[in-house]
Each structure stands twice: as C-alpha cells, then as structure tokens.
Amino acid sequence: MFHLKLKWLALLGGALIATGSALAQDSGPLVDLLVKKGIVTDQEAEELRADLGREAASGVLATIDGGKSTVGLVFTGRIQVQYNNFSGSIDGAAANPVALSHFILRRIYFGVKADLGAGWSSTLNYDFASLSFDAAFISWKKDDTLITDIGFKKVPIGLEEWETSSGSLKAIERSPITRYFVEGNNGRRLGAGSYRLGVFAGGAFANGVSYNVAVTNPERDEFSTLTGNSDPGVQGSGTAANNNFAYWANVGYKAKLNESSSYHFGGSVGFLPDQGGLVLGKGDNLTVYSVYGVLNLSSFELAGEYWAGDNQHGVSATRDAKPTGYWIQPSFKFTEKIEGVVRYSYVDSDGRGVNISDGTRVSVSGGTMNTMDEWYVGGNYYFRGNDVKLQFGYVITESHDTVTGAFAHARAEGVRSQMQVNF
C-alpha cells in the first residue's frame, strides 16, 4: 500500500509539474479523488496543494530572475480603452467648437516591481499610450511608519490626484478642479501636481495617522527623453525657471466607525518656487492647498475635496491669482457589481481663466472663462472587482463669465465610457 501511495503521488506530481502551472492550479478535483480513495490523507493533500501552488508561482520567477539579490519580481499592467462623444456651444461665437466622437487608448501601463530584500525595492512603470514614465524610483522600507523613495513618481498632494489611482476613479477622469491645479501649466492651469523627480518619505501608524513629504524638482514632468522631448525634468538639468526645489507635504487620518463603515480625511500643501506668474521664469512663486474627506457607510460613499492656491502675479504683473474650487462625489453600490456615481466640480480661476478642455478631459476645446462647473452622472459595472470593469457616464460642463467679469457662457456635454483591465 505504501509503495502504491508513493507511486500515485510521484505520478501526480510529475504530471502536474510537466504540464505546467495552469494544470497545477486546477488539480483540486484530482487531489480530492486521491483523498477519497484513501491514497493520501487530508493533511498530505493540503501539503500537496500548497506545493503545487508554490510551483505554479515560482515557475515564472525562475525564468525571469533579476539581479543576484532579487528575491521577487512582480509584473503589473493596466489597459484603459475609452469612447468619448462630446459637442459644445459658446454663446455669441460665430462657430461652435469641433465635436468629438472617438475611441482612445487612454492608458497602456506596464510595470515591474523588484524586491531586493532587507527593505529595498525598485519600481518601474511605463505608459505606452503617452510614451512616458509614471514611476521610476528606488525604495527603502524600514517598516510601515517609514518608507523612503528616490526617483520619479507622483508628488503627495490631493485626494483625487495622489491618493486615488487612475484605475480607481469612479467617474473615469479626475475632476476639473483637480486637473486645473495639477496638470501642466498652460498659462491657465497651475501645474502643481503629477510626476516629479525628487526624494520622498512617508508612512502610516497603527493609530490611523499617515504622512508623506517630498522635496522635488519644481517643474511637472511626465515625458521621457526617449520621446525626444527637451523638457529637463527627467534629465534633471535646471534652468533659470526651475532651479529651486519644490516642497510637498500631506497628512491624513483613517478610522473605522464599525465593521463596514469608515472615514478618512487629510490635507496637503505644495510650495513651488518660480512656478507662479502668468509666464514661468519671472521668479513668481506658487502655493497650493488641498483638504479632503471620505465617508464610507457600507454601500454608500461620500468623497469631497477643496483646493485653494496663491499664484504670485498669476493674472498680470500687478495682480495675483487665488484660484479655488471643489468637487463632491456621492456613490452607491446597489450590488457587488453595480455602482452609481454622481460628481459635481466647481472651478474659480480668479481672473486667470479656464478653458473647457482644461477641466474636462478629452472634450471640446474653447470657452475660456473665469469659472467652470461640471456634472458627471454615471455607473460602473465591476465584472471582477476593480480589475475588470466597465464605466459609463454623461458629462455636462459649463464655463461662465469672462476673466474681467463680463457675462459669457459656454457649454459642452457628451458621453464618456471606459473599459479597464488591471493585472
């Protein structure tokens, strides 16, 4: 009987290893049969299942081994395919903005994280859709209370911009106010977020408090020199407009109300020397602030964020801009798969101006005015949690009044949908 058992186990192990990890992972019924026949005990079966699971996991690592110290490699990816259909009108304009009906590959991420042991790791992430890096940094983790990074990554500012991954946005794209503050300076938007080169540190404590700080190059940069872009961010050569470091800090607090309910709030600040003014390079400074909160009550979530900024000479040589705005987003999960989302966002540029396309991504362009608001009403269907999901929504954006205060109005509206896979 003993020899028969060994023979069965050898046969099973050999067959499963020879035929690959997929079969190894599907070996449950076969192992169950061996238990039922009395060939292996329940305990032996569990050890066999674990061994086969490990074989399946380690088979990949063995063929893609990194440096001598690498103890683990994790590959990640994200594909987002969008369809956008927008049209718009500007009161009094001779012609309406050009309408849009198009599929786009919004993100094609491929990333690798290498664990080198003793707290050291390295992360790379590349977006093949925009031909740019999203992350390229080296980490050292003491424990959960202190993680330090050096390299290229997002700066710690804002709930929607920094704490919320692009794969977890409930309304597909970030809100107009977040985009107005963080995306590249185009003479209207402020450019105070996104990716920068520098030194980062952060951690979380058992009592729910978390913190993050960073010292970085002041300019936003998400372009690789591989594209031939001359922006010095990745290369790191300073200019008169960007030779002083920017400073960032965020502090937050999370707590549970009960088993299924929790809340989370926090605040961020960023100080960017020489990154203010109507035109960069004049020595004007930019300071931005964000306060935010999230309340989870079982299936219901309410999230919101308020932004404020101080842009020296942001309107003219004699006038600063102090833009403000907010977004608020209730959402409700009707089932584990179906979720409804509403988001309202408001931008007050304080005389600097905001174009419809500055706030609402992949929409029509035009209608640069002093304020903007946007409504998003949509739904999400989670096929396999956040890893495979379909999102769709209707977006209405309106901008109001000229930067000098005269009456004006523009409107854009349309459908946005997105299919996403994370792996």
Partner: protein, 268 residues
C-alpha cells in the same frame, strides 16, 4: 542592598528573556473561541508564554505570515494562488496544517417554520434570486440575509461550497463574526445566516437541514454534509520554537479534546 537590587534586576532581565510571546492572527471562526481556549490551556503548563490573538478574518492571518507579523496564521479556508504567489515572492513558504474540521451551518430564527432547505434554495437565497420566505415554504415576508465580511474565510468558503462562486445578494448585511450573525438572526424572525459548528447552538436560532442532513461531527467526518471544510494553521515552513510546541499541542489528544468541546470536529 546594592547586591539585592542587582539580584532583582538580574532576575527581571532573566525572566524577560525567557518570556515568550506567540502572535496568532486570522480567522474569526478559529480565533473567537477555539484558539483562545487552547492558549489558556497551553499557558497553564507553559507559564512563561503569553499570547497575542487577533481574529479579524482568514485573509489577515495569511497576510500576517507573508508579512512576518505573526508566527501562526489561522484560516478557515485554503490560501489562494495569489496569496501563495505573494508569499513565495517574499521568500515565505506557506505551510498548512489542518487543526480541525468544521461545517458551515445555515441558521434561521427559532420561530421560522422552515426546517429544511435544498442546496439550490440556499444558493438562490444567498444570491438574491429568492427574496421571500413563501418561496421556500415559509411565512410570507422578505428574507434578511446576514453574511461575514469579505476578509473572512467563511465568506469565501460559503461562496465556493454553497453558491457556485456566485456573488452575495446586494441586500446582504456583512457581519464581523459568527457570533454577530447568530445574534442578528436570533433577533430577526426573517433572518438567515451561517456560522461554524461551534456557534450554532445558541438561543433564538435553529439550524436548517440541507437536503435532510444536519451539520454534525458524524456528517462532517463522513463528508455527507455539503458545507464542510478543514480549518488551518498557516506557518512559514515548519513551525519553529514555541509556535511548533503550540501546533503540536493543538494536534495532541489534549488539544483535540478541546477542539471537540468547543464544537469543532476533531481531526481524528
């Protein structure tokens, strides 16, 4: 006097060096009653040992072994391939040890006239296809479903064993532990939930027979009860030191006697 103080300090240092703390995290099914009872009994014969037991769901126990924050991870389900993969990536060899068998009992309010359910009816109730008790021979009224939370091994085991891996009804209410589910069902005449064998014999609730089979030691061991499962300790490879002694104690005759007394099914 100085010599006395020095002696006391030396004794204190010696005692602290010998004090052993076992950190055990994971399954509420195991960690609410069984493991604390085993720990108390173990401490009686090992006075220098202290325990830190956190029962917040099997997922947390398996993660704790991967992260190295516990010596023993309690789990009422098998580690998933992704968890084995994550452990391997960190150089952790996840080793399961079966410590007891358990059945997941379907509990109803004691005043509910329904006594027997088919496997299909259980699936349909918990998935939300059947929403009124009249559909299964009960008094008309909306069914209130109580489940464990998503970090629970019982939550995922029940999906696998009873629901063909379907999702729970959106109206289901997620509870922190077996005892909370039983308490809610005892209060709610329209309630239905599930719990481990050790938690089913409480006032105010009764156990539904599944196609004529009630969960019991005999039906679980004979593999006749459809919602039966092994429960595990997970360790990083073979357990070492005090953790190994505690695992051995759990598997010993004395430990397995406690397993039976608490309401689980002994492994022998």
């Amino acid at each position: 006097m100085k010599k006395f103080t020095f002696l006391l300090a030396a004794l204190a240092v010696t005692a602290s060096l010998h004090a052993q703390k076992l950190v055990i995290k994971g399954s509420d099914t195991l960690g609410a009653k069984l493991v604390p009872t085993l720990a108390e009994e173990y401490k009686a014969t090992h006075p220098g040992v202290s325990f830190e037991i956190a029962a917040e769901g099997s997922t947390t126990g398996i993660a704790a072994i991967t992260d190295g924050t516990a010596q023993i991870g309690m789990s009422s389900r098998r580690a998933k391939p992704t968890e084995l993969s994550a452990a391997s990536a960190k150089g952790v060899t996840m080793k399961p040890t079966i410590v007891a068998y358990d059945g997941i009992a379907v509990v109803l309010n004691a005043n509910n006239p329904v006594t027997i359910l088919t496997k299909r009816q259980v699936e349909q109730i918990f998935a939300g296809d059947i929403t009124d008790w009249s559909a299964v021979g009960g008094t008309p009224g909306a069914i209130s479903i109580y489940t464990r939370n998503t970090s629970s091994g019982t939550y995922s085991d029940f999906k696998d064993l009873a629901m063909k891996k379907r999702d729970y009804a959106g109206s289901s209410q997620k509870m922190a532990g077996n005892e909370q589910i039983v308490a809610e069902v005892a209060k709610n005449p329209s309630g239905i939930g599930y719990c481990g064998l050790a938690y089913m014999n409480e006032p105010g609730v009764k156990v539904a027979s599944i196609e004529g089979t009630l969960p019991s030691k005999a039906s679980v061991l004979a593999k006749k009860y459809p919602y039966a499962r092994p429960t595990f300790y997970y360790t990083n490879g073979d357990p070492q030191g005090e953790a190994a002694k505690f695992v051995d104690f759990t598997l010993s005759d004395a430990g397995q006697k406690i397993v039976s007394q608490i309401g689980f099914v002994s492994i022998r």
